[in-house]
């Protein structure tokens, strides 16, 4: 390709032009020695592409991830070689485990210095083999533009995921011809074949107690309304994995909530009693299924997924439908016949009633002066339907999953698969960058402590962000395990720090306050939601609060813990 009316451009310039051509309007990152050429081009292109500078590369990776989850676009992040690249690793792994489309650009030392343990040299492609969908080490500037395009295509095709491109400095400075190309489309995947769809429809027709089990794939493909119509047509109910939350409105009559370790009682119980489970974009993770030998033991299982390798991976299914998820589901919806299952309906209503009673009892047995659920009720009252809820990892995350009423898809941003403490700050900043609107980050003092440096980023960019810090001075989730399964030996979970989070947030330039009652929380949250810029609310929680109900790891419904059996704490 050598159009005579064109000048040669540097690799750095070609990279930026290709990002813009691929529809990237925001990029997160942190500069350094081996990406200084790229940053020079970013400066020159600053009116066409916005760069958001974080406090740490990990924050940038999580921000790109949060941005992608909310917008449905490919998140983009840039970091330098060596420590810049390794700081991204947790962020890349988080995106991989939750199938989030991302393109990660790293600089590297010049080709002639590769392999010599040069300053800030690291083999980041080697490090990220198993946490990327694919990665590239670019050695020829002439291949750069097409490599970037292919990376975007891989990131968004089929089951999305992160793709890394490592570019040595001499490739950034070398020159090549560039001509703009249209935004590359995802590779089209055929739906599952008709015969299988007919077979699935027949199985659904024969079922008396059908249950849809939806996951991250259902959420990412925006199946929302169609799932509900399907459930209504076939008179089935819907449960979700953690990643499937927010795919449909939480208050939907057909929805029984999340299933699994900290799932809703009705949801988990319905899984045991169902005679057919239809998994939709869900990988039957161990956190959801518990002991797979006893999982859904009365049910046949149909699994719809875009990824062939998910079929029979965690549970053996009776029928796997592999293909484009949306179209496969639509074809199936066309093929199923309307049904009425009165007995199942009555049974599910009963389970819902029992579940509500269990939840109320859990709430009453709260040890805090204000129970955690009370705070979530206030958040549910004050948030807008489109408000993004982000979380970190731990007890607050599971309470969020249990209590937050999601109203719109793509409004829940949380690290499900990897369970990355410290994910929240970066992800929430990325989410707000995507929507331009308020994000509520629900976090804990443990998780927040891991990446609170990103407060500086939120202040600088006036990120509309409310941080609800559920502060119990302990690592609550691990402490809960120690309480229940380790005889109360609280090894390394008492934080007992003297950190004043209000002053800390203020020192970063954010507004902050501490509350001590539900009324104060309501007033504080109303104030916070009107702010333009980060606002931290320090919310006290008792250190012995438990997330219930709970099925112990590897257990099944018979092992369900619904009440806090301990005597009052000494």
């Amino acid at each position: 390709m050598q159009p005579n009316n064109q000048r040669k451009l540097t690799g750095a310039r070609i990279l930026i032009e290709t990002l813009i051509e691929q529809g990237v309007s925001d990029v997160f990152g942190y500069p350094g020695g081996q990406v200084v050429d790229i940053y020079d081009e970013l400066f020159k292109a600053r009116r066409r592409i916005r760069h958001i500078l974080t406090a740490h590369e990990q924050g940038a990776a999580h921000a790109a991830d949060g941005y992608a989850r909310v917008s449905g676009k490919v998140g983009t992040v840039i970091a330098t070689s060596g420590p810049g690249a390794t700081n991204l690793v947790t962020g890349i792994a988080t995106a991989m485990l939750d199938s989030v489309p991302m393109v990660i650009i790293t600089g590297n030392v010049p080709t002639r210095l590769i392999g010599r343990d040069s300053f800030q040299e690291i083999n980041i492609t080697g490090i990220t083999f198993s946490i990327t969908k694919h990665n590239y080490f670019v050695t020829d500037v002439n291949e750069l533009a097409d490599t970037v395009r292919e990376a975007f295509q891989i990131a968004k095709s089929g089951r999305p995921g992160p793709v890394l491109i490592d570019i040595p400095k001499d490739v950034q400075t070398a020159k090549a011809y560039y001509s703009a190309a249209p935004e590359i489309q995802a590779i089209r995947q055929d739906p599952a074949d008709d015969q299988q769809i007919e077979k699935a429809a027949e199985m659904i027709g024969n079922a008396q107690r059908p249950l849809l089990y939806i996951g991250g794939g259902a959420a990412a493909t925006d199946l929302g309304e169609e799932l509900i119509s399907f459930a209504e047509k076939t008179d089935s109910f819907i449960t979700s994995s953690f990643m499937g939350l927010s795919a449909i409105p939480s208050e939907c009559e057909r929805f029984l909530g999340m299933e699994g370790m900290h799932g809703r009682y009705a949801s988990t119980k319905a899984t045991v009693e169902a005679d057919l489970i239809i998994g939709i974009g869900v990988r039957f993770s161990d956190r959801a299924t518990g002991n797979t030998k006893r999982y859904a033991k009365n049910a046949k299982i149909i699994q719809l997924d875009t990824d062939l390798s998910e079929i029979n991976k965690n549970v053996i299914v009776d029928l796997g439908l592999v293909g484009d998820l949306k179209n496969t589901f639509r074809l199936l919806a066309d093929h199923v016949s309307p049904a009425v299952h009165t007995a199942w309906h009555e049974r599910v209503s009963e389970l819902k009633r029992e579940g509500r009673m269990i939840f109320d009892k859990i709430n009453e047995s709260s040890r805090s002066s204000v129970s955690p659920r009370t705070f979530f009720d206030v958040i549910n009252d004050l948030k807008q339907p489109e408000t993004v809820i982000a979380t970190d990892v731990g007890q607050h995350q599971m309470w969020t999953a249990q209590y937050i009423k999601f109203e719109q898809p793509r409004r829940f941003v949380s690290s499900g698969g990897l369970g990355t403490m410290g994910y929240g700050m970066g992800a929430a900043i990325g989410a707000s960058a995507a929507t331009g609107k308020q994000t509520i980050l629900i976090t804990g003092d443990g998780s927040f402590g891991m990446n609170l440096n990103e407060l500086a980023t939120a202040v600088t960019y006036r990120t509309p962000l409310v941080i609800v810090l559920m502060n119990n001075s302990v690592l609550g989730m691990v402490r809960q395990w120690q309480t229940l399964f380790f005889g109360g030996r609280y090894s390394a979970t008492k934080l007992d720090r003297k950190t004043d989070f209000v002053k800390l947030a203020q020192a970063f330039g954010a507004k902050a306050e501490r509350i001590s009652s539900a009324e104060e929380f309501r007033a504080a949250l109303s104030r916070a939601l009107k702010q333009n810029g980060p606002y931290l609310i320090d919310v006290p929680i008792d250190k012995d609060e438990l997330v219930l109900p709970m099925i112990p790891a590897g257990g099944s419904l018979e092992d369900l813990i619904t009440t806090d059996e301990r005597k009052t704490q000494q």
């Binding site: 083999f129 198993s130 694919h134 590239y136 891989i154 062939l308 390798s309 029979n312 991976k313």
Partner: protein, 164 residues
């Protein structure tokens, strides 16, 4: 435990072998052998993998391999519809007592003596992996000093072709 032979057609690009090998480590799959070499098209390589396990493991491996971007085709070669060969070089002690036994075994197995010194002999043998194993069994009591196996390569019989 069954034995499976997989033929994997991959792009001849940076890091492909590492990607395939690291997949086995990451997913906890055990393999018996892995060989790789160029194909009739220099842009592609062919990897032959032999493994022991059950149908479940084999299916998982195939599905995971298919997800790798540089992997263009994966096929399980059916028992009875493939030709399979492995090559081994094996060095044995050359003493007046065992010299005739080694040469007789080599003759029967249609092996070749490719290096001969006063102390050692090096024998080259080609065949199905089971034949190689049998040859090792025969030489074992005679004093094997060192050996090197290539791992199996295999093609389908008749008109079956992996990539047309």
């Amino acid at each position: 435990m069954n034995r499976y032979v997989l033929s994997v057609y991959v792009e001849n690009k940076y890091g492909v072998l590492t990607r395939v090998a690291s997949l086995f480590m990451r997913r906890g799959f055990n393999i018996d052998s892995l060989t790789v070499g160029e194909t009739e098209n220099p842009e592609y390589s062919r990897i032959t993998i032999t493994l022991r396990g059950d149908d479940y493991t084999c299916e998982q491996i195939i599905n995971q391999l298919k997800k790798l971007h540089n992997v263009k085709k994966v096929k399980l070669l059916a028992e009875g519809n493939k030709v399979e060969r492995e090559l081994m070089l094996i060095k044995v002690r050359n003493t007046p007592e065992n010299r005739n036994d080694i040469m007789a075994a080599a003759e029967i197995f249609r092996a070749k003596i490719i290096d001969y010194s006063t102390e050692y002999m090096c024998v080259e043998v080609t065949g199905e992996p089971s034949k190689i194993n049998a040859f090792i069994d025969v030489l074992q009591p005679l004093g094997i000093v060192e050996m090197c196996r290539t791992g199996a390569v295999a093609l389908e019989r008749g008109s079956s072709i992996l990539v047309k």
